[in-house]
Amino acid sequence: MKKILLLSCFISIFLSSCDTNDDSGLCCGPDPIIAPQNYAFLRNNESTVKFTGQTTRIFMAEEIISALKNNDTQTQSSLLAMFDHQEGAADFSDPELNASGKSVRSKTAASSDYFSANATEAAEIKSMFDSYIGIQTSEVFPNWNTVATPGVAGQIADGSDTRYIGANGLEYNQAFAKGLIGAFVTDQILNNYLSPSVLDAGDNVSNNDNDITDGDNNYTTMEHKWDEAYGYLFGGVAQENQADPLPSIGQNDSFLNKYVGKTNSDSDFEGIAQDIFDAFKLGRAAIVGKDYDVRNTQAAILQEKISQVIAIRAVYYLQTGKLSIESGNFGAAFHDLSEGYGFLTSLRFTRDTQTGTSIFTRSEVGSFISELMSDGPNGLWDVTPATLDTISEQIASKFDFTVAQAASSN
């Protein structure tokens, strides 16, 4: 017996030591790529890092999700206009955002890899977000001062907070915000800016090899594309801290930054924020060093870790929602499940680094949503703990974390 125990100890030591695939590019070759301490890169003593466009779009998205709760000032058309902002239109409170020609909607379900030849699905996803706005204004806003009951939109208490839900129990503003984490932020990072189809497009490689910068800018196009990926995670950080953003991780926006921070504060996933930051730095250093293998390895790490964050948060919210359902606390449950709903839709934009496609197919994600909403006639009012467990297990089975590990996060 003792021998067996001893043996299994050895086996587990062996297994875990094999598990560390630390090929961070420090081993071979004449010029090892070394990441700087901060995300700071210079050419001719001037910074080559720029991602103001991402910052702008994150700020626009912040204003939209906040406006979704302003029943007294917003209408369907004002919200749709914010989402699909046109240059110069006075959609936002910040005049700089109004002056910008960028919009959130144009970058929703818009990555090169997933949607450049998939216009049908891209249009469907964009109109899914449009429909959240439509239901919020046509169903939830009119019932703002009504007590919600199964099948009737209105208010529901979540402790001392008030939530505003549709007839099916869904908080559309949460579905919208958490859905954007996938369709907008994650899709742009993983399937656009970190993809060779964007990094290596046109003459990017030869230009980068020969230090040919992009017009008047101080960066090569490839450098800039990588920085734009970084900007979707760290664009909300105060400018002076953007090169060293981890101290405030989780507090810089309501989107991916927030949830990388929350995932990182669960002891089961502690360090994931550092892993992500390190991969961004090393990948960028590899572009400077013209080592595209190292760059691609770091891109794969980012795609894997960020996909994990989305899946962990989806499971987390389904599980906390389950606890509240079990104790009859519908208000708390619907809030968590609405966040979970958004993260479920975000799963579509995760990425399997082997295949370069989503870890969850469009139809798998569609099934999750329909399972969640179809235990009875009134959507979340009827969802059972068993259904929430089933979906959670299906998600976790594609990763090396367990439902319990994800559920214990905060």
């Binding site: 017996m1 208010q155 208490a157 001392s160 906390t320 104790s327 809030h335």
Partner: protein
């Protein structure tokens, strides 16, 4: 060999339970402590008498509110203020039992969310229109809304003017009456549920699963201690969660001299519940409690019995609270360190109860920290 088989069985058991389905409603208690007697003690000697007492005080408050609104005067104002305090103290004895109907009604929040939203209240009164059933009006009702109307409208003279000759006098009166009636209705709903069937199912639900009465009650008790007592009454106003103090968030912001009284009443109730003490001489304990449960299990920490550690820690917390000014706003403004010290001692029992006690009792925490958005 026998040992090996046992070992394998344990592993198998662990495996099976880890993978098991969720329906744990027929899981029997794993220890021999008489959970049924424990639940009877809680229901019959603590909880139901507590609601009976609170209902009585609310009835007195209702009478006083009718007196006051019919003829507002210094005397009737004094009367309703006294009834408000009596009822508030009685509420501190039952606030922790947010289970059953109380939970579905969001009872504690309906009765005692603070700080109150005086602007919102004034808005309803001047519009002469409100609906206290809406969750968004939660911060405009309950004890703290009454606190505003009875202590927050200026001098007694100014207050009486608002209820007599002021332009919205009838609206003030209606609002005050509606606040008291709502508290009364909610309480009678919870109380009558206990008396009509809930007690019976409560005391027989002895299973050691998340849905069992012991698990539910202990979770409600801990949630209350951690969030409502430790954080709400002390930590939040002392700035533990915000970086800087928030004196405007004390319980009883307008009648400032009773914040400490309400805290000590709440902590007394907490200690009494832990020790299974009957509500009054009329309701003697049968001796079953969390204290005696831990004693029966022989739970120890650092070579000391866990129940003794917890009771001692309650006394340490009391000794720190004794040092505080009756008026918490003054205490926070003049010497917030003492508030923080009281908080720290209350916090130590969160660890002893939420971690050590729950582990000893094999109870899972059924609540999570709010997500913050």
């Amino acid at each position: 060999m026998k040992k090996n088989i046992t070992f394998i069985l344990i592993i198998l058991l662990a495996f099976v339970s880890a993978c098991g389905v969720d329906d744990t409603s027929d899981i029997q208690p794993t220890d021999s402590y008489d959970r049924s007697a424990l639940l009877v003690n809680w229901a019959d000697n603590i909880i139901i008498p507590g609601y009976a007492n609170f209902s009585q005080k609310l009835t007195a408050l209702e009478v006083a509110s009718e007196d006051f609104t019919q003829s507002p005067s210094a005397i009737s104002l004094d009367g309703i203020r006294n009834s408000w305090l009596d009822a508030n103290i009685a509420f501190q004895k039952i606030s922790m039992f947010e289970i059953g109907r109380a939970q579905t009604l969001n009872y504690r929040n309906r009765l005692n969310v603070y700080p109150t939203n005086s602007q919102e209240i004034e808005g309803y009164i001047s519009a002469n229109s409100w609906n206290l059933e809406l969750p968004s009006t939660i911060d405009a009702q309950g004890f703290s809304a009454l606190d505003y109307l009875l202590y927050g409208l200026g001098t007694d003279q100014e207050l009486l003017e608002k209820f007599t000759t002021g332009p919205n006098a009838s609206s003030y009166k209606m609002y005050l009456l509606d606040l008291v009636t709502t508290m009364q209705n909610l309480t009678s709903e919870v109380f009558s549920d206990w008396n009509n069937g809930y007690r019976a199912s409560y005391i027989t639900n002895i299973s050691s699963s998340a849905s069992g009465s012991v698990d539910q009650t202990v979770n409600a008790f801990l949630f209350y201690y951690e969030k409502a007592l430790r954080a709400g009454k002390v930590g939040i106003p002392a700035g533990v969660f915000s970086g800087s103090p928030l004196p405007q968030n004390v319980e009883s912001y307008y009648n400032q001299t009773v914040s400490k009284l309400l805290l000590t009443q709440a902590l007394n109730a907490t200690v009494d519940f832990f020790n299974g003490k009957g509500f009054s001489s009329e309701y003697q304990s049968n001796g079953f409690s969390l204290n005696s449960y831990l004693e029966a299990l022989g739970s120890e920490k650092n070579d000391a019995s866990l129940e003794t550690l917890i009771n001692n820690q309650f006394q340490v917390a009391f000794s720190k609270i004794e040092l505080l000014n009756d008026n918490f706003i003054q205490q926070i403004t003049n010497d917030n360190t003492k508030m923080l010290e009281a908080y720290d001692e209350l916090q130590r029992n969160v660890i002893l109860m939420k971690v050590d006690m729950l582990q000893a009792l094999s109870i899972d925490v059924n609540y999570v920290d709010a997500d913050g958005d």
